[in-house]
């Protein structure tokens, strides 16, 4: 990777230009209605302190989420961050359930299924709030035109293998390779009914390779887990040799710790997973929520997410970590939250038909 940060950033953006994103489509209704960018003021901090805590529903893997929470707490003593981590699809269901009962527990929310933000926006659940960093340092396609949310993180759903159990030359290079009978009983895979990452990835793979791919994969006696954060951990345990899908950042974290796992960016293209963050209109701690939202998009937090969390960031000043393949060099599948939103039920039903669970 190039040492010059700007160069890296340009390459990222080029990569993204090659993979048109659906986020701009979301704002067709209202153009440039976003409120002006908000600075973190002493008044906001004081008001947040009075509230004392911010509750964050997120689907990012727990150690990463808690690390970010601790960084926030040490920057703003007196404001605690309570992390509620679950699968994006589970969180989506929980928020729906809570709001239907007039329970407004969540202050601000992150989901690895960008389609959820289409629904929340349509239902009027989100508050307009644009942190200064978002206005200054984020590409337009990663900002909601109405200022309701922005892309807080991105990751990829990759193939992976255990270097203890598989030699590099024998490792799969593509989705098609996973259908080889030699991998029967050796594959672990996460679930689109739980994980937003896998929901998004399943849509992209089914669109590009057809559902026959999943039908054939289901004959491979796969081990089914829930979260997209789990397959990398199953590789590290040595429980399965190969993962059919799972989060790239989980693999980075394990590699950083010296665990014997390796990433494969499939030849057909790698599903790109966008994870926006937004403040709820009925947040119980509105000031703390806004302070936290600003922190989330700050260079400090975004750099931490990349360095410690292995995530990808769209903040213009963030430097990619040495040794990781830059996004621009990876062949990506197009992401399309609007289509995922329309097809989510169908995707879950078909998946269950093939994989039985």
């Amino acid at each position: 990777m190039g040492p010059a940060p700007n160069c890296t950033r340009r390459r990222i953006l080029q990569g993204l230009a090659a993979a048109p994103l659906a986020l701009p489509m979301l704002g067709r209704t209202a153009v440039a209605a976003a409120p002006p960018a908000t600075k973190v003021t002493p008044e906001l901090i004081a008001a947040a302190r009075k509230e004392g805590k911010a509750i964050w529903y997120t689907s990012v893997d727990l150690p990463v989420a808690e690390r970010i929470g601790k960084a926030f707490e040490s920057k703003y003593p007196g404001v605690a961050m309570r992390v509620e981590r679950s699968g994006a699809e589970r969180l989506f269901q929980r928020i729906g359930q809570e709001y239907a009962s007039n329970i407004h527990a969540v202050d601000f929310v992150n989901s690895s299924d960008a389609a959820h933000f289409i629904v929340w926006k349509r239902d009027g659940l989100l508050a307009p709030y644009v942190p200064e960093d978002v206005a200054q340092h984020y590409p337009a396609e990663h900002r909601d035109p109405d200022g309701l949310f922005a892309t807080w993180r991105a990751t990829l759903s990759v193939i992976g293998y255990s270097t203890k159990l598989v030699k590099p030359e024998e490792a799969p290079n593509s989705f098609a390779d996973l259908l080889d009978p030699k991998w029967s009983g050796k594959i672990v895979k996460a679930h689109p009914g739980y994980s937003g990452t896998i929901m998004t990835a399943t849509y992209q793979v089914a669109r590009d390779l057809g559902w026959e791919y999943f039908e054939k994969l289901s004959a491979q006696k796969i081990m089914q887990v829930q979260s997209a954060a789990d397959p990398p951990k199953k590789l590290a345990l040595g429980e399965r040799a190969v993962m059919a899908d799972g989060v790239e950042y989980g693999m980075f974290l394990l590699k950083d710790k010296g665990e014997p796992v390796e990433i494969v960016y499939p030849a057909e293209g790698t599903p790109l997973i966008i994870g926006p963050n937004g403040v709820m209109k009925k947040a119980p701690n509105p000031n703390a929520a806004r302070l936290a939202q600003s922190f989330m998009f700050s260079l400090e937090c975004q750099q931490l997410m990349v360095d410690f969390g292995g995530l990808r960031s769209f903040h213009a000043l963030v430097k990619e970590k040495t040794g990781r393949k830059p996004l621009a060099e990876i062949k990506l599948m197009k992401d399309d939250p609007a289509a995922v939103e329309k097809q989510a039920d169908d995707i879950k039903a078909r998946y269950t038909k093939y994989f039985k669970v």
Binding site: P63, R82, Q224, V225, S227, K356
Partner: protein
């Protein structure tokens, strides 16, 4: 129901024999008792009838609440539902059978023989009982996952077999049955051992004196007297296995099959289909009713009163040199639910990678630090769990005591209905009860969702059947003559319950309290529906961690939870005036 019903008939107080004043006093107090009892009956109706009514409404209607049978048509024609139903029945039957085969001999060894360390064995069974089934399932994943499981690794290392050789595969139907049995057999064991404890020696002595051999005595006296407990145990094991959610959710999904509870759970994923879930729960409810009727039919007409005003001490069988093999057998059995899983949890808690055996080099406190200093939900979940546990145990014991008394002594008309209501929730999978409560308490007039109260209601309802059964079987074993004596002397029912019955039942009450407490800490399926971020409990937190595969954090949290639970139970059993203090025997 009780065999001794003839003796409990209401107007046994011979009014002529008592002074008029005492009679009046007795009357007025009896009225108060009636009111209190009516209150309990009403509370029970609210607890049980309300969620079940919602279930029935949902099962027989469509989304717009138009009456329809479509849900049942789907249920019985779609293989996606029929298969889980069959799987569930296979699991429940196998678990019930295995539990009886293991628990009955172990209960006998501990309660009726001079096996060494009998108390220790009981304590270890207790340890497997306080282990939440989902935690046990996770521990067994660590031990017997086909590739990374410690036992499989050990086997491959010892035998030199190749990397694809698998000795145990926990992600399978037999694996699941095995794990559920490990954490269900204590139910049967406790019931059988307690029953055997209570069988007085004089009955067996009588048999021996009349020339009965040891085997004949066992066959004609001991076994028949322990039979109700064993039957109750088999039933409880069956129903527990049928309605369990945590272990199947952890082991069946990776294996690629559903049980009824995990299927129902999947129906609550977005978009939720509560109508189908309610319909899926009703067959389980009907099956339970049928089983309970069968139990009443088999046991109902026999008499099992074993504690009267006078009785002898239980007689222990002398095993001689067989004592040691008996001890070894019991300990070997306890390896499966206790020693091995706990070892795996401790290993995972302190090693870098849970599938590697910890050595001095790989020992780490990172996981402990993460759970206690980084995981922001830990403290809140612990507080909620132990608060709810204590509250539910106290209210539940009280409720079960009164209801068991009313039904065992046929004290009010309609007591059979009360008994049925108190037992009915056992047939409702916690997850479905959770939904029933959710439906009942998310709309006016009372909105409880989002508060700890709705969890308390759920726990009370779920644990009531077992608590009630336990106290009811204690009542059955308690001759009514002592209470009758009190009543003849002018005490009201309530007074009698307080001054005579409750103290005699002291140890049973403490046991019931602990039982509910432990069950609440273990409970996952209703909580998983009813929790919000402010009302999170430990089981839900662990389940969340499991879904993202954080095995080390689970191990730390699980072990902490077990240690705290054990501390609470030890404290409860040291309570002055209960447990240790009162003995039911006149020796």
């Amino acid at each position: 129901m009780p065999a001794s019903a003839g003796m409990t008939s209401e107007p046994i107080v011979t009014v002529e024999a008592l002074p008029a004043a005492a009679e009046r006093a007795s009357r007025s107090r009896f009225d108060a008792s009636g009111a209190v009892m009516a209150l309990f009956a009403a509370a029970l109706c609210l607890l049980v009838v309300l969620p079940i009514a919602w279930l029935v409404v949902f099962a027989f209607t469509d989304r717009a609440r138009n009456v329809t049978l479509a849900n049942f048509v789907t249920l019985f024609t779609d293989p996606a539902f029929v298969e889980p139903l069959l799987t569930t029945l296979i699991i429940a039957t196998s678990v019930s059978l295995i539990c009886c085969l293991v628990a009955a001999p172990m209960g006998w060894i501990v309660a009726r023989t001079d096996v060494p360390f009998a108390r220790t064995i009981r304590m270890l069974v207790m340890a497997s009982f306080v282990t939440p089934p989902f935690l046990g399932a996770i521990a067994w994943e660590l031990l017997a996952a086909p590739n990374s499981g410690l036992l499989n690794q050990l086997y491959r290392a010892a035998s030199g077999a190749g990397p694809d050789t698998v000795l145990f595969n926990i992600y399978s139907l037999p694996g699941l049955i095995f794990v559920i049995s490990c954490y269900t057999f204590p139910y049967v064991f406790v019931l059988v051992a307690n029953a055997l404890d209570r069988i007085p020696g004089d009955l067996e002595d009588a048999s021996t004196m009349l020339g009965g051999s040891a085997w004949r005595t066992a066959r004609r006296v001991t076994i028949p007297l322990a039979l109700p407990a064993l039957a109750a145990g088999a039933l409880v094991a069956f129903l527990q296995a049928m309605t369990l959610f945590g272990s199947p959710a952890i082991l069946a999904l990776p294996a690629g099959f559903h049980t009824m509870t995990t299927k129902i759970w999947s129906l609550f994923q977005y978009p939720p289909k509560p109508e189908l879930a309610a319909a899926a729960a009703l067959p389980l409810l009907l099956l339970t009713v049928a089983l309970l009727r069968a139990q009443a039919f088999v046991l109902g007409r026999r008499g099992y009163t074993v504690i009267g005003g006078k009785s002898g001490a239980p007689r222990l069988v002398r095993l001689g040199w067989l004592r040691w093999p008996a001890l070894a057998l019991a300990l070997a059995m306890l390896c499966l639910p206790v020693f091995l899983p706990y070892g795996a949890l401790v290993n995972a808690a302190f090693s870098r990678i849970p599938s590697q055996l910890m050595t001095l080099d790989t020992l780490t406190l990172h996981n402990v630090k993460f759970v206690f200093f980084e995981l922001s939900a830990t403290k809140l979940a612990m507080k909620n769990t132990f608060l709810l546990g204590a509250l539910a145990a106290t209210c539940g014991t009280l409720l079960a005591l009164v209801i068991a008394y009313l039904t065992a002594r046929a004290a009010v008309t309609g007591h059979r209905v009360l008994g049925f209501l108190a037992t009915a929730p056992i047939a409702i999978p916690g997850i479905v009860l959770g939904v029933g409560l959710f439906l009942a308490y998310t709309r006016g007039p009372i909105v409880l969702y989002g508060t700890l109260w709705i969890l308390l209601l759920a726990y009370l309802t779920i644990e009531l059947p077992a608590a009630y059964q336990q106290l009811q079987s204690s009542f059955r074993a308690l001759a009514p003559e002592l209470e009758e004596a009190s009543r003849i002397l002018g005490a009201s029912r309530l007074e009698t319950l307080r001054t005579i019955t409750a103290p005699l039942l002291g140890p049973s009450l403490v046991a019931t309290w602990c039982f509910i407490f432990v069950a609440v800490v273990r409970e996952l399926s209703a909580a998983v529906i009813l929790f919000t971020s402010e009302t999170k409990v430990l089981s839900v937190l662990i389940f969340d961690l499991k879904e993202s595969g954080d095995l080390a954090a689970i191990s730390v949290l699980g072990l902490t939870m077990l240690i705290l639970t054990a501390a609470v139970i030890v404290a409860a059993n040291r309570l002055p005036g209960f447990g240790g203090g009162i003995r039911l025997r006149n020796n």
